[in-house]
């Protein structure tokens, strides 16, 4: 849909492998718990977001999207074990000292959390909550903090006077705006938005998406947006990554992935969300038979094979790495790129 013409140039540059990114994730793995009850929620993810670039991550519930988002600032519970690299401006978050990590949190990258009601503190006024990171990271005076909160509220389209409100006094859309204002507070270079519009109705959803788009473009912020709704992401982002069972199974320019996904799961997702925020499709996604896999007991080979309409015999046995699937695109499917191996029959 509508994209700033400038954006596509940036996309190509940042999308190219090896370009210095704002955020670079290399072989990130997250496992909850250990031993027999271990849940591998993220299983080797590589991603890059450049300055001003907007990357969308799509996938069903439980595929590890929020885990990925929380891992970026090391916000996971202590039961989670992480490996790999998360480079924020070239610095690895996973090896940072606590003091440095606290300094990077919110000032370097901020998060718009899934579910604004519970992510705001019910007993503090929203103005104070927005100003809090400003006071913390900029050592601003309380007056300066209040002024900044007012300015941010106006930026997200709320009257500055609402700073005195408590979260429960706002509507869902207003709360989400507050979350966005809060995320912008310290001018971070990267914003992670985890399902920023999921709880909202279609009209408000569109407003919030436009708002995020505008603010990110104005301030040249990198955006990592997470949703189960491929249509929402295709509408907002430059690039799209499709996640399945803790891995990226497809990645490429947003429109291309949405219109003609290479991976059968990507195709199923885009069929499931034919247009933005379609409520019917949200309740009963089309073309996605079966349940998402249990991360504690993943299928062998290509983890999608039990649900894949075009699975081959080999899919059950062989793990499928991401492989090139056209310019700036990749997908993790045996059918991509190379011809189907000799002797293999469609099941």
């Amino acid at each position: 849909m509508k994209r700033a013409p400038r954006a596509s140039g940036v996309v190509e540059a940042a999308g190219a492998r090896g370009a210095p990114g704002l955020l670079e994730i290399r072989d990130l793995r997250v496992t909850y718990g250990s031993g027999a009850s271990a849940v591998p929620a993220v299983r080797g993810v590589d991603l890059a977001v450049g300055p001003g670039q907007k990357l969308g991550i799509a996938g069903e519930s439980g595929c590890g999207k929020s885990t990925l988002a929380l891992a970026l600032l090391r916000l996971l519970p202590s039961s989670a074990r992480l490996s790999g690299e998360i480079l924020l401006d070239g610095e690895d978050v996973l090896t940072m000292k606590w003091g440095r990590l606290r300094a990077v949190r919110w000032a370097g990258a901020s998060i718009v959390f899934q579910g604004a009601m519970h992510s705001l503190n019910a007993v503090h006024r929203i103005g104070d909550q927005i100003a809090e990171p400003v006071l913390l990271h900029r050592r601003a005076t309380p007056a300066a903090g209040r002024a900044r909160a007012a300015e941010l509220l106006e930026q997200v389209g709320l009257p500055a006077a609402r700073a005195d409100a408590y979260p429960h006094e706002l509507s869902g859309g207003q709360r989400q705006r507050v979350m966005i204002a809060m995320a912008l507070a310290c001018d971070p270079r990267l914003i992670v938005a985890d399902e920023p519009t999921t709880a909202l109705d279609v009209m408000i959803q569109a407003q919030i998406l436009r708002l995020i788009e505008r603010l990110v473009a104005e301030q040249d912020i990198g955006l990592l947006m997470i949703s189960h709704d491929l249509a929402v992401l295709a509408d907002t982002c430059d690039r799209l990554a499709v996640m399945y069972a803790g891995r990226i199974v497809e990645e490429g320019p947003a429109r291309a992935v949405y219109d003609a996904a290479e991976h059968p799961y990507g195709r199923a997702l885009s069929a499931a969300f034919p247009r933005i925020g379609d409520p019917a499709s949200r309740r009963a996604p089309r073309g996605l038979p079966g349940d998402p896999p249990d991360p504690a007991a993943l299928p062998s080979g290509c983890t999608f094979h039990p649900r894949c309409p075009v699975a081959l015999d080999v899919c059950e046995r062989e793990d499928q790495p991401l492989r090139e699937a056209g310019p700036g695109r990749s997908a993790a499917c045996v059918r991509v790129g190379a011809a189907v191996p000799a002797g293999e029959q469609p099941r």
């Binding site: 949190r105 019910a122 007993v123 809090e132 006094e169």
Partner: protein, 360 residues
């Protein structure tokens, strides 16, 4: 949290339907009003409830103490040989010759005008007796309640934050053990160890009373504080577990909260996340607890006051019971129960003002 919100909130409630979000308060044990009840209406309801409770206490206090064995009149004569005529005269003097229902209506009528009757043994108005002993009790239990509430909140917070750790288990274990210790026994133990002195431990503190009586000015304050140490220690030791446990479970409920992840994501230190975000939320349910503790201030501890010969209401109550000095124990019972009712009422009225989520 700030009181500045109060007048506005009340106006909201008076002005029409209160707007409520999908509030989290809906799924907590909610001692506050329903989210749609207007605050003034709620206040009226609570005041009415408190009045009914007070009346019930009035009735109870009259009948409860009539079942104590012993004839007040014969106790008054200290067992000295007294003629039947003299006993009858005494009965008549105190209105004990009237039918029970008439004694009751007389008692109620007087109590409602603030007249609690005349003590059989001290021959003085019960109200006056209570007033002379009240300050000592308020001092002792007031100090103890403030200390054990604060201690309970502090230790409960620490326990929950490091939930399951060694410190937590030690904390709750010690608190529960002390809680189950009888206060008079602990008091006696402390007297033996720290007042009488045992082995190498010298007698550090007085065995009882509130002051030595030979000091004035600042020295007197120090003297009273010296006398306070052991009884306060006893009350704190057996009392802080309750607050600790309530605060601990309340904070544990908050610890999974997404807003704490937000606070951490902002770069706050662990201690700030706890102090600024988790504790204010967890404190709300403990407000009631703290007020109930404050309700105990008047009642004090009869046992501890008796053990330490503290010149307060508890000792007075003990003396009244042994006669039985009916007007005195009735009056004291009214004061003890009344304090609880009033503090509960205050907690109920305050809660919705403290929690911005509860509609007002």
């Amino acid at each position: 949290m700030s009181t500045a919100s109060t007048p506005g909130a009340v106006r909201d409630a008076a002005g029409g339907p209160v707007k409520t979000g999908p509030s989290r308060s809906a799924d907590r044990a909610d001692p506050g009003p329903g989210t749609r009840t207007a605050y003034p209406l709620y206040v009226a309801g609570r005041l009415g409830g408190a009045a009914v409770s007070l009346l019930a206490v009035l009735v109870t206090s009259f009948f409860l103490f009539r079942i104590i064995p012993g004839d007040p009149v014969s106790t008054m004569t200290h067992g000295a040989p007294t003629s039947a005529a003299q006993l009858a005269a005494l009965r008549k003097q105190f209105g004990l010759d009237l039918p029970l229902w008439q004694q009751f209506t007389d008692y109620c009528a007087k109590a409602l005008t603030g007249d609690l009757g005349t003590s059989y043994q001290f021959h003085a108005p019960v109200g006056e007796l209570i007033m002379t002993k009240l300050p000592a009790t308020l001092l002792l239990t007031g100090v103890a309640v403030v200390i054990y509430s604060a201690l309970g909140l502090w230790l409960g917070t620490r326990s929950a934050w490091r939930n399951g750790g060694l410190g937590d288990r030690l904390n709750t274990g010690v608190a529960l053990t002390l809680w189950s210790v009888p206060s008079f026994w602990l008091g006696l133990l402390l007297i033996i160890v720290f007042s009488v002195g045992i082995g190498p431990v010298p007698g550090l503190f007085p065995t009882g009373g509130m002051e030595s009586g030979d000091t004035t000015g600042f020295a007197r304050i120090l003297d009273v504080a010296h006398h306070l140490v052991l009884p306060v220690l006893t009350l704190v030791a057996v009392g802080y577990a309750q607050t600790l446990l309530v605060m601990r479970s309340s904070l544990l409920d908050e610890m999974g909260g997404d807003y704490l992840t937000t606070a951490r994501a902002k770069g706050l230190r662990d201690a700030s996340v706890r102090r600024r975000h988790a504790v204010p939320n967890a404190l709300l349910p403990t407000v009631t607890m703290v007020f109930i503790n404050l309700g105990h201030v008047a009642g004090g501890s009869i046992l501890v006051e008796t053990v330490f010969s503290w010149p307060g209401l508890g000792g007075l109550f003990y003396q009244g019971l042994s006669v039985p000095d009916l007007p005195l124990v009735q009056g004291l019972f009214l004061v003890f129960a009344g304090a609880m009712i009033v503090m509960n009422l205050l907690a109920d009225l305050l809660y919705p003002l403290l929690d911005p989520r509860v509609g007002r």
